[in-house]
């Protein structure tokens, strides 16, 4: 079956998408990167149905992208807040790459809704390929190579 094949896939794009490939999942991560932590914040900002949100948050906790912490407001019952783990924070570059592509190729008249800046220099930030020295290299200098032992993989 295709889905099972993908979950066990030799390709990490396919494996990543088996966790992240549903639209709401990446939008939840985007919201978390922007500072949302509470169920109601995610629900209101995304306009997502509560049952879908609940399911996606659980998946992201199971996959160690978010961690759940209890909190309590005076006179109310315990609730939960959601925070990005280190694994989740490393999705920032994926979200940044998607945002950059959308701003360039699916622009809206008003311009980008968010921009990224370096905290230290205040200059604009992009997502790009870099070499081992951390220097940007152009896309047409990047080759994709099947790694060794791949002949035994599905």
């Amino acid at each position: 079956m295709p889905i099972a094949k993908l979950r066990d896939s030799s390709c990490s794009v396919a494996r990543s998408l088996s966790v992240l490939g549903e639209r709401w999942t990446l939008l939840i991560v985007r919201e978390a990167l922007s500072g949302s932590t509470r169920f109601e914040e995610f629900r209101e900002n995304l306009g997502v149905a509560p049952d879908v949100l609940s399911e996606r948050l659980n998946t992201l906790v199971e996959c160690n992208v978010l961690r759940r912490e209890p909190y309590q407001e005076v006179g109310r019952r315990t609730q939960f807040a959601y925070f990005l783990t280190e694994t989740g924070l490393e999705l920032h570059v994926v979200i940044g790459a998607l945002q950059q592509w959308g701003d360039q190729h699916l622009p809206r008249d008003e311009g980008p809704s968010v921009v990224r800046r370096s905290k230290s220099s205040a200059g604009p930030v992009r997502v790009a390929f870099v070499d081992t020295t951390g220097r940007e290299i152009p896309e047409d200098d990047v080759s994709i190579i099947a790694s060794e032992g791949e002949s035994n993989a599905v």
Copy 2:
């Protein structure tokens, strides 16, 4: 409605995902980056149902990610091959970021199935945030800022 809201969304992640948010779509782009051009190549390498593949290829052509070109083998009827446009090639960094995250956080015992190398230096390539000079900057130096005029956006 959530879907309509997303299509018109002020957020380019949401707009990108309205084109790319379906698992097969990004896997088709991955295949195209690896050199697949023909319907049968995509079908066999992805294990995707022909009707789903056909629909996703059409969407990617409509969105200017792929372009379709006729070709003909001797004694056979005209068929179509699919090539990445400039817009499609710019998804390489999105796919690279997803692959990198999967290799790090959803690894398989055999190691990565593909690696990226610089054609000019033969050294390994990563995806990262860079500043205006093309110099890598760490994720914790990146801030997300709502751009001006956003108060009028949905």
